[in-house]
């Protein structure tokens, strides 16, 4: 019988940068974009030329958004706030909300998917129906509904996003678990007298893990757009806190009178962040040879 050689499955930073594999460019570009946005959000207090919510123009210019200039590279808004500074600060809320939402969705969706797929039976049926009915709702509508019931705050926005994205994690993990548990090595683990807890954690989970990464990438893409929607409707923070979604909302009234910079830059940043996660997710999917349907 032919000897099959190959490298162990797993991730190493060095291997990721050095090796050649499909999806590498996409993945690295995605990671670069995400890291870049995280960086500017952290460093905002040190690099922003003006405070984000303070008048930075003479009183005479109040009420009229000023176009980009050397002093204000992204222009100012009607209140005289410097848009460049607001853009630098504006990623903080969205990153926080999406990170918290991803953590909650992972923490709930993954264990439920594992248990549901592994044990099947009644619990599985109940969970599947529940998750599928949540999944069937348009994400943004559901998120808005929940967030408005809970009240506007970043934490509540994260909770409502989690409700929307738990089913995504659940469905993918459950599906993969159903596939893995039919594998003979699970049977072999049982035949060695290993309890289900160990079989699940040490044999099923590691085999399901790659798909969790992909769902994280692609799910977060969606979550970013939904979060921007929540912010747009004022369901995360209140003005004058800097936030891309909220600035988009505040800028929309001036857009028609020619102040394109008030919507262009916040919109660009939201798109860029979503793109970063999409590239990460698709790149991972390609590397791990997981087919995605969206």
């Amino acid at each position: 019988m032919a000897r099959i050689v190959g490298r162990p499955i797993g991730f190493s930073l060095a291997g990721m940068l050095r090796g050649r594999y499909p999806g590498k460019k996409m993945m690295l570009t995605g990671i670069f974009i995400i890291l870049f946005i995280i960086m500017i959000s952290i460093l905002a207090p040190y690099i922003s030329p003006y405070p984000p919510a303070q008048r930075s123009v003479p009183i005479s210019q109040l009420g009229t958004p000023q176009p980009p200039s050397w002093k204000h590279p992204m222009g100012t808004n009607n209140l005289g706030y410097d848009m460049f500074s607001r853009i630098l600060y504006g990623g903080r809320v969205i990153l926080y909300v999406v990170a918290l939402a991803a953590a909650i969705s992972l923490g709930i969706g993954v264990p439920l998917g594992l248990v549901s797929g592994f044990y099947a039976g009644k619990l599985d049926r109940i969970l599947s129906v529940t998750m599928d009915s949540i999944y069937a709702f348009p994400g943004i509508i559901l998120a808005i509904a929940i967030a408005s019931v809970l009240g506007p705050s970043p934490k509540n926005a994260a909770i409502s996003l989690s409700v929307v994205y738990i089913p995504t994690y659940y469905r993918m993990v459950r599906g993969k678990t159903l596939e893995i548990k039919e594998m003979l090595f699970i049977e072999a683990a049982k035949s060695l007298g290993l309890p289900d807890r160990i079989t699940l954690l040490r044999h099923v989970l590691p085999n399901v893990a790659p798909i969790i990464l992909v769902v994280f990438g692609l799910g977060s893409t969606d979550a970013i757009l939904t979060e921007a929607g929540l912010s747009f409707f004022g369901l995360t923070v209140t003005y004058p806190k800097p936030d891309w979604g909220l600035d988009l909302y505040m800028g929309k009234d001036y857009f028609l009178s020619g102040a394109w910079w008030l919507v262009f830059f916040p919109g660009l940043m939201i798109t860029l962040l979503a793109l970063g996660f999409a590239l990460l997710g698709e790149g991972l999917a390609e590397k791990l040879e997981i087919r995605t349907e969206r």
């Binding site: 019988m1 499955i9 290993l194």
Partner: protein, 322 residues
């Protein structure tokens, strides 16, 4: 008392189109130190019988009635938690397909060591790995392979790793479900040698499941022939091959190629019955060249004939039955 006593075992798979009776009223005793081979075609219930011993039936399989006594303890009634202590250290198993029986994302050392830790055979990780290394060496794989992943090994090596994992727990019974079917003949012979060697060394009893009666005849002390969920014949290996009593066993042996004779291979006409609707009487009668009236109406009991058993009405006439 026998090491393993299966009494009146009925196993079934409920399906949408009816209940498949995979094992019907099976009675079987296995003594310590035996190598019992269970032989039969696909779907004869041989694997189902073996898997029900440790209750690892694939869903929706279930044991409907009967008992399986292992050293006096009924495994059928044991709660799952208790049963787990028997799986591995008392009754080990190895499987048909060594390619998929190992977890692809864990090293083979991890996989052997974790069971040793779970059953308290090793006190800590270091000891578990050292024992796992010993186990690998015992099956002829260098211990530096502990850190290898399954895809770095060949099929034969993987089967050795599986055997090492099972034997490391020092089971009294090793159930081998067609462990050589997926391997080529040369590797197959080596695995069989290994099993025999380990059996002697560890004083194990082997229950060997196979469709290959010639392979079974080579090493077994006893062969049990199953057909359509029924035990048809049970005899010491030599007697069974030299003098098969059941027409089905005779058919099986006639269908086995023999390199050293110019005997014609004869297949058994017809197909095994649909187990959802088994034929009345003897399950083999529609294919049996020697079937007579009673075969069509009455199910033959497993008769004791000086140290061997056969379920066939032909022998009832001779007055050997009860």
């Amino acid at each position: 008392m026998a090491l393993l006593e299966i009494r009146g075992l009925n196993v079934e798979y409920p399906t949408l189109s009816g209940i498949v009776r995979a094992v019907v009223d099976a009675n079987l005793e296995v003594e310590g130190g035996e190598w019992v081979s269970i032989v039969g075609e696909s779907g004869s219930g041989k694997s189902t019988l073996a898997y029900s011993i440790t209750r690892l039936l694939p869903p929706p399989g279930r044991i409907r009635s009967g008992s399986i006594l292992y050293r006096g303890v009924d495994l059928v009634k044991l709660p799952e938690r208790e049963l787990r202590k028997y799986r591995g250290p008392e009754i080990g198993m190895i499987f048909q397909d060594p390619m998929t029986s190992l977890d692809p994302v864990r090293t083979i050392g991890d996989q052997i060591a974790e069971a040793l830790l779970e059953h308290g055979i090793a006190k800590d990780k270091a000891e578990a790995y050292s024992l796992a290394g010993d186990a690998l060496e015992e099956v002829g794989i260098p211990r530096n392979r502990l850190k290898s992943y399954p895809h770095q090994l060949s099929g034969g090596q993987r089967q050795r790793v599986l055997i090492a994992g099972a034997v490391a727990l020092n089971p009294r019974i090793l159930i081998a479900d067609e462990p050589t079917t997926a391997l080529d003949v040369v590797v197959q012979a080596k695995i069989m040698d290994l099993l025999e060697e380990l059996k002697e060394k560890h004083d194990m009893t082997i229950i060997f499941i196979t469709h290959d009666i010639a392979l079974a005849a080579e090493r077994s002390t006893r062969i049990v022939v199953m057909y359509a969920g029924h035990i048809m014949e049970d005899a010491p290996a030599e007697q069974l091959v030299e003098n098969p009593l059941h027409p089905y066993t005779q058919g099986l042996l006639n269908a086995t190629p023999d390199l050293w004779s110019d005997k014609r291979i004869e297949s058994i006409p017809g197909y095994p019955p649909d187990l959802r609707r088994p034929p009345p009487g003897c399950p083999f009668h529609p294919r049996c060249p020697r079937a007579w009236g009673l075969c069509r109406s009455e199910k033959p009991a497993l008769l004791d004939l000086n140290g061997r058993r056969v379920a066939c009405h032909l022998y009832r006439r001779e007055g050997a039955g009860r």
